[in-house]
Symmetry: D2
Subunit: 359 residues, 4 copies
């Protein structure tokens, strides 16, 4: 079974290659009568597209999406929604020489091991360009989720950590800086760091944090399809991710139970927790509090510095980036994290509707 | 869709409640003609069962497994393998008083929100007791995987971190201490800490690390069913987990690309990487190197200390553990991490067989 | 992927062998708070169990079901419902001699070809005994479906065809004869035929018809999961089935469009069709009319007459039944058809809830 | 869960509407390194496309397929294969008036009931035009299946039944007449009948028979994913189908077991059956004999004759076809039956590879 689809009820199927004719996504399970236009999709794609700021790759793709099916008179019909983005700017010359080597910490070697062939141009199927389809699908998921609000942002780049109030942070705070960090002081330092790193021919990693507000309690399907588990899978399916943590995350290891436990209290006649080490999920099911999680992204493997590696015929070889790459994937990863979050949530939202008892 | 099953080709379906009649698992997709006996299963269950050492709960379950189907003359037949463990020692009185309160950082509240009812005894379906079924299924997966070796161990408890050589660590090193930490010096300190914590009526968290050896390259199905993504989901589906990271993990955030990239080199005529920040997986597919990942476990939410909370009818209430709980889940989590790892790997191993091109 | 599960939201996983320790089923996706007891299940199992009348096999199984999980204080909890039936009367001596031959039109040969082993006792996994688990699951599905009424009956045995008014036929009419045919005149002739056939050491086939009443319009998920398609699959998964048809069925081949089309008319302010050649399903979706379909069952392959065949080592061999078999599977197939129908409908009912738009 | 996908390992996702921008299909799970070009696809599409003979609709679509992904240097890469066909000739005026009525025995009414909206143009999603995507996917499945040969043909139209030798019939015999019936005498009569029916403003139904040769034994996954069950579902998912039968089919009802059973015999050192009432499948698994099944298709619901019906606002209304429809769907259904057969077989072929034991 190929792994190009995710979701049970709200299900997306991603296709395409970095330098093929087009990339695209098919969204199944979107309820009917939801207003939807290409503009709804495009505004999310524009947050992810290359060349949007001086921090990102110079590849010139305007990533114009075309909705091919599933929408009639401006509303969804319940039929699958097929969306396509034609690839434009691909300089195959850039990559021709790369088809003979395995780039370090890319997927060149593993794809070749698996399939005994590979589309070497721009990483082919393994390129982060493929996340554009997911962002398009996420835009639809967001519309289905209505009042549920998903805000992701850059929490950390290298050793610079932002101060962010998870209760208050808003999408517009995130979009106010090109590095997508709502803490303007940290953002300024991050931007400087990324630019310097780029100049030095290197790359940097970091952490994206994501907050979900107004989540109804009851989302998540134990034992295995816990919401936290499905979020973890979705995040770790994004290119360049190395870790996922929710609520207290890895810091829980150093806490005592008496400190870590989230005390239940009444607030406005609702049961809430005083602290939120659980990150809004207990036993895999949302408790109505903020869902908060973090995702670690490695430094971009493509760098301008010359690197030693091995050629496809087992000889020593050297590679160096041509400059058309992001020195730091974090700013453009933010909308991808949001999209994958929306897709997982939407799936669980529909699942919870199906299972709702009627008494 | 309920979430009680995991896997596409090698698929397990888990059922039961902590204090119901029995718990169990159905394993579909096990190839035929694999030697299998209850002894193969029991030895893994014994590593997980309660009461195995002074560090664990006093609940007295011997967790005897019965294979009900799928095995004929000592070998698998290709039919589903159903396994059952009868529950024995359940002191319903202990829990009766708990059915009226929501225990902090347990799943009492969220299950009630989701299902408008809950089996309050021992956590019902949300109890970590249910991982026994998964361990039984994992024992079968390990037999299918033959030479692939999976070794998990306690890497950290609270602020005590073990030194472990991932290349060399063996199962017997792990089993040599009751805390399942192969670094005997750290192990001694961990045991002392857990015992003191227990005495003080509190609990501690930690980190389990897992190493997979002899993994063939080519396992993992991009885009979404990356091996790293499926491992993340499986780990985050285990009770009490708060984080997952692979290879360099969250530390990648502070590294430069030039440092983080794993250089390819030739070794014994094979292409290998000099470092292993990738954790054996690139682009979601194994590269033949060691797979190394870590899972964070929170401190047990059940503690002996008196805690404030809310009752099911919204009043202030208090709970305190009765002593029948683990002050630290880590030692018994080790076989669970191994089992879930084996289940994910086995699924991807079968998937890779199906997709193998024949040229 | 093994094929032991069916359903997307309401999902059953069947396990066991004819002469193993037990058989059973796990039901996932049953909503919470539905009243459920073993008595609800048992009454359906009793309609399927062997030895219930002089028309069926003498195998003495009382088929007592045990609910092992998923029910708390008499109501479902949303957790998987595991049910088990211990096997009792298995005369392994009867079958020992059969393990060396491939019985004609049984699955002995194909199972051996597929798995390179087989549980030869009583057909092992290929036995119709396994449908008991499905009947147990169907009993739960019927409870979820509440007012939707499913009535199946024997429409035809050999050349005797019953006259049945699909609008009026009721379960009690079906149960009024041991052959489960509501047309008492045809029933008497069928009973006589089956008894004579048994005496002559032979077996007969026939057709079961099934009617579903009070189906809400809108069930079925095109393009592939049409309700008619999913019913066809479920029916063709039952042992001994050779054909499925809905509404006009194969007779449509000889009709003109002007005759076959179901004219829409208003009746009690509702849109209905004047005729029902569609069998209640148009474009794969229910239209609110009666759903009517038929399933063909072949004559039991086990007969008392001596038959020529081939042994496992390729020699000429002979087999003859020992008398412990049904000369006609139809009467006991009726509850199986109902159960599989209920399972498919329940799945689609939950799916339609999930997709319901909220405007 | 929407039902736009079918298959577990070899999986297709169909999208589009009759009069939308385009229709298409995504094929997941195609192994790498299979030679594939648009020509391979086009030749199958040309057998299905409208306007190919005087027996079919005059809608002028050339159905040119574009492969958008998954193929590199003329070979598959293991990545999903996305294919698209732009819609050209859609005369929306024809249908505008139809958007206010529910056409008899079409899916207009049920789609509206389900989704509370519908794309009324040309049937939207419910149009048989959508089978073009499946035919494209089937062309790929056929390439994966290599030596397995699938031949479907028109067995019956109205009361004219063809004589066909299932052992010998070849694709070229089928293609030799525009009605796709390999019995040239019957074919001539069928053609005459269809033309006369068209003239009279009516339509006719019939039966397609399909033969599969060189099937390896062991395909099919009991209990539920029997090959016969999955074929039944796939066939009943095709527009206008009302019945499915395999081997002896419904005629089994009138046979005695002693006559129906297929005796095993040795032939060329292989175990074969003397007769083939089983239709090549026993217990849901192929036995290596010819697989033979039949599918009933109703007369086209669109006819030129004036028909009474109901408007969307519950008034009496009338419809009459404009002449742009097939008076008999059978000739164009033949490649669709073959495609769906290939897709099911390919899926089971990959599944059997995964489960193959290695001893």
């Amino acid at each position: 079974m190929a792994g190009d689809s995710i979701g049970r009820l709200f299900r997306i199927t991603n296709w395409g290659e970095s330098h093929g004719k087009a990339i695209g996504i098919v969204v199944e399970g979107c309820p009917s009568l939801i207003e939807l236009s290409e503009k709804d999709i495009q505004k999310e794609l524009d947050r992810r597209k290359p060349g949007q700021s001086r921090l990102t790759t110079a590849r010139a793709e305007d990533d114009k999406v075309e909705i091919l099916s599933g929408v009639f008179n401006g509303k969804t019909t319940g039929a699958p929604i097929s969306m396509m983005i034609r690839n434009k700017d691909y300089n195959k010359k850039d990559y021709a020489k790369l088809s003979k080597v395995f780039r370090p910490s890319h997927a060149d070697f593993t794809y070749f091991q698996k399939y005994r062939t590979r589309d070497a141009f721009g990483g082919g199927r393994s390129s982060a360009r493929l996340t554009a389809g997911n962002v398009a699908a996420g835009a639809i998921a967001k519309k289905v989720l209505r009042k549920i609000e998903i805000v992701a942002y850059v929490k950390k780049i290298n050793n610079i950590t932002a101060e962010v109030d998870v209760e208050k942070v808003k999408a517009k705070d995130v979009e106010s800086t090109i590095v997508r960090c709502p803490d303007s002081i940290a953002a300024a330092r991050m931007i400087k760091l990324v630019e310097e790193t780029k100049k030095s021919g290197d790359s940097v990693g970091g952490v994206v944090e994501c907050v979900i507000r107004n989540v109804p309690p009851g989302l998540g399907e134990p034992l295995f399809d816990k919401l936290s588990a499905d979020l973890a899978k979705a995040m770790m399916s994004i290119n360049a991710t190395k870790g996922f943590e929710i609520g207290s995350g890895f810091s829980c290891a150093e806490m005592l139970g008496s400190k870590h436990n989230d005390e239940f209290v009444m607030k406005n006649k609702k049961i809430v927790t005083k602290t939120n080490n659980s990150g809004g999920i207990q036993g895999g099911i949302t408790n109505g509090m903020l869902v908060v999680f973090r995702v670690a992204f490695k430094p971009t493997p493509t760098i301008s510095k010359r690197q030693k590696t091995v050629s496809t015929d087992g000889k020593v070889a050297f590679v160096e980036g041509t400059g058309r790459h992001d020195p730091c994937v974090l700013p453009r990863a933010v909308p991808v994290v949001e999209a994958m979050t929306a897709i997982v949530l939407c799936d669980h939202y529909l699942r919870s509707k199906a299972m709702k008892n009627e008494d």
